[in-house]
Symmetry: C2
Subunit: 235 residues, 2 copies
DNA sequence: GTCCAGCTACTGGTATACTAGTATATGTCA
DNA sequence: TGACATATACTAGTATACCAGTAGCTGGAC
C-alpha cells in the first residue's frame, strides 16, 4: 500500500463523498453502506480506490465503528478488498467474477421463472411495466428501459415469494451493473431485444411451460455475457 | 425481552460456549463467527436463545467489537435476529425459510450440473467418493454418508469453478442443515437413494445431457423437502 | 384487586483510545 | 552506486467507555 502524499493522490475523496448526508436519528451503518455501495457500482469510486477507514470516517463525520461494519459487508460482497493492517481498496473489475455473478443470477432467476410457470403469474400487474419497456425500447431510451427492467425482474421475484433469493441476486448484480455502467456503449438495440425476451418469458410462463420459461430466462440473463465479452475486446 | 434473574435462565450459556478457545494470534472475528455458527446449526443454541453481546464477550474473554461483527454476519444469514436496543436471539426454525434455502440451493446446484454436463467432469476423482457413499449407504451409516455427500457436492462446485456460488450455497445450507440435524429420525434408507441420485447425475453429466443433469440435481436437492414436510407433521 | 406512571436494569449503537502489523522512506555502510 | 538495516507513518484489529432506547418491575392511586 503506497503511502500517498497529499498532492500525489489524484483522487479527491472529499468530492467523491459529497452528498453523503447521515441522518443521526437513524442507524448509521446501513446509510454509509448504501452510500459507498452506490459509489462503487457507478464507478465514482473506481477500482483500486483506497478507502481509508479513518479518512472516510472523518469526511463523513462519523466514527469508524459503523463505517467498519459497512466496509466488512461490502468486502463480503466482493466489492471491497480488505488487507489487514494494510488498507482497503475498491475491488478491481474482474471478468471472471462478473461471469460468475451472471451464472448465479441466471440460476436463481431461471428457477424463479420455472416456479412461476408452475404457479402462474398476475399478468395484469406486469402488463403496464411491459408496455413502458416497449415504449422505452422503441425510442432506444436505455436508462428508462433499465429502470423498468429492474422493476419487472423484481416483481417476478416477489410473485415467486423468494425474498432471500432475490436479495442474493441483488448482491451479485452489483458486479454486473458495475460492469454494465462502465461499458454503456454498444448497447444500442439491446432494449428491444430484452423486451422481446420478457414477452417470450411471460408467454412461456402463462402456458405453464416450466422448462421453456427457465430456458428463456437463462438465455435472457446470460445475454449480459455478450456485452462483457464485447467490452473485453478493448485495450 | 424478559429480564432474566440468574436462576430463571434455564439455558447455561457458559456450558454451551465451553470449548470455544480463541487464538489471540489470529483474527478473533472469524473464530467466534465459526464457533457461534456451528452451535446454532447443531442446535446447541436452540432457537430463541438470547445472545447478549456483553455476556458472550465476557465468557469468551473477548471484546464486543469482533463479536459484534460475527453477530452481524450471522444476522445477515438469517441465523440470528438482532433487535436494536432490545437483544439478539437465535432465529426460530422457519419452515418457509428452509424451503427457500432448498429452492436457492437447487437453483444453483442445478446450474452447476448443467455447466458440468457441458464441460465434462473428472469422473476418476469422483469415483472413490461415490464408492465411499455406496459403502456407507449400504450399512445405512448416515453420518458418514453425510460427510461424503458434502464432499461430493463440494467437488462438483470446484470443478464448475464457481467459488462464490458455492459460498452462497454454504450460506443457505445452514438453514437446511439445522433442520436436518433436528429431525435426524425417519431418514433411514435416505442414504442409498441419495447415492443413486448421484450415480444418475454423473451418468447424465458424462453423456453431456445438460437438461437431464440439471433435472436430476434439482430433484435430488428438492428431496430434502420431503424430510421437512415429514417433520412438520409433528406436534 | 386493577391500572398506570415512572423507575431501573438491561440492551445494542456509537465514539474513541490503544495495539500490532506493514510498506515506504531514509540513512548508512560497503 | 548499490544493498541493507532502521525509522516512520500509515493501516486495520481490538478494547473500552459512553449513549440512547426498550421492557419489565414496582409502588401508589383509585
Amino acid at each position: 500500500m503506497p503511502r500517498l502524499t497529499p498532492e500525489a493522490s489524484a483522487f479527491d475523496m472529499q468530492a467523491a463523498l459529497k452528498g453523503v448526508a447521515i441522518d443521526r436519528a437513524r442507524s448509521i451503518g446501513p446509510q454509509i453502506y448504501d452510500a459507498l455501495r452506490s459509489r462503487i457500482i457507478d464507478n465514482r469510486f473506481p477500482p483500486g480506490t483506497a478507502l481509508s477507514e479513518k479518512e472516510v470516517a472523518r469526511i463523513c463525520d462519523i466514527s469508524r465503528t459503523p463505517l467498519r461494519a459497512a466496509i466488512q459487508d461490502l468486502a463480503g460482497e466482493g466489492l471491497i478488498i480488505v488487507k489487514p493492517q494494510v488498507g482497503s481498496v475498491v475491488a478491481p473489475h474482474d471478468a471472471a467474477r462478473v461471469r460468475e455473478a451472471i451464472f448465479i443470477r441466471a440460476a436463481i432467476e431461471a428457477a424463479i421463472a420455472r416456479r412461476l410457470a408452475e404457479t402462474g403469474v398476475d399478468e395484469a400487474a406486469l402488463a403496464p411495466v411491459l408496455a413502458a419497456q416497449k415504449a422505452a425500447g422503441e425510442r432506444d431510451d436505455y436508462l428508462t428501459f433499465f429502470r423498468y427492467d429492474e422493476q419487472f425482474h423484481s416483481m417476478l421475484a416477489r410473485m415467486a415469494e423468494v425474498p432471500n433469493a432475490w436479495q442474493m441476486v441483488q448482491s451479485v448484480k452489483a458486479h454486473i451493473d458495475r460492469q454494465r455502467l462502465l461499458l454503456m456503449s454498444s448497447i444500442t438495440g439491446r432494449s428491444m431485444r430484452a423486451y422481446e425476451d420478457h414477452v417470450k418469458l411471460i408467454e412461456a410462463i402463462s402456458r405453464g411451460d416450466a422448462s421453456a420459461a427457465a430456458a428463456v430466462m437463462r438465455d435472457h440473463v446470460n445475454s449480459a455475457l455478450e456485452t462483457l465479452e464485447a467490452g473485453a475486446q478493448g485495450p
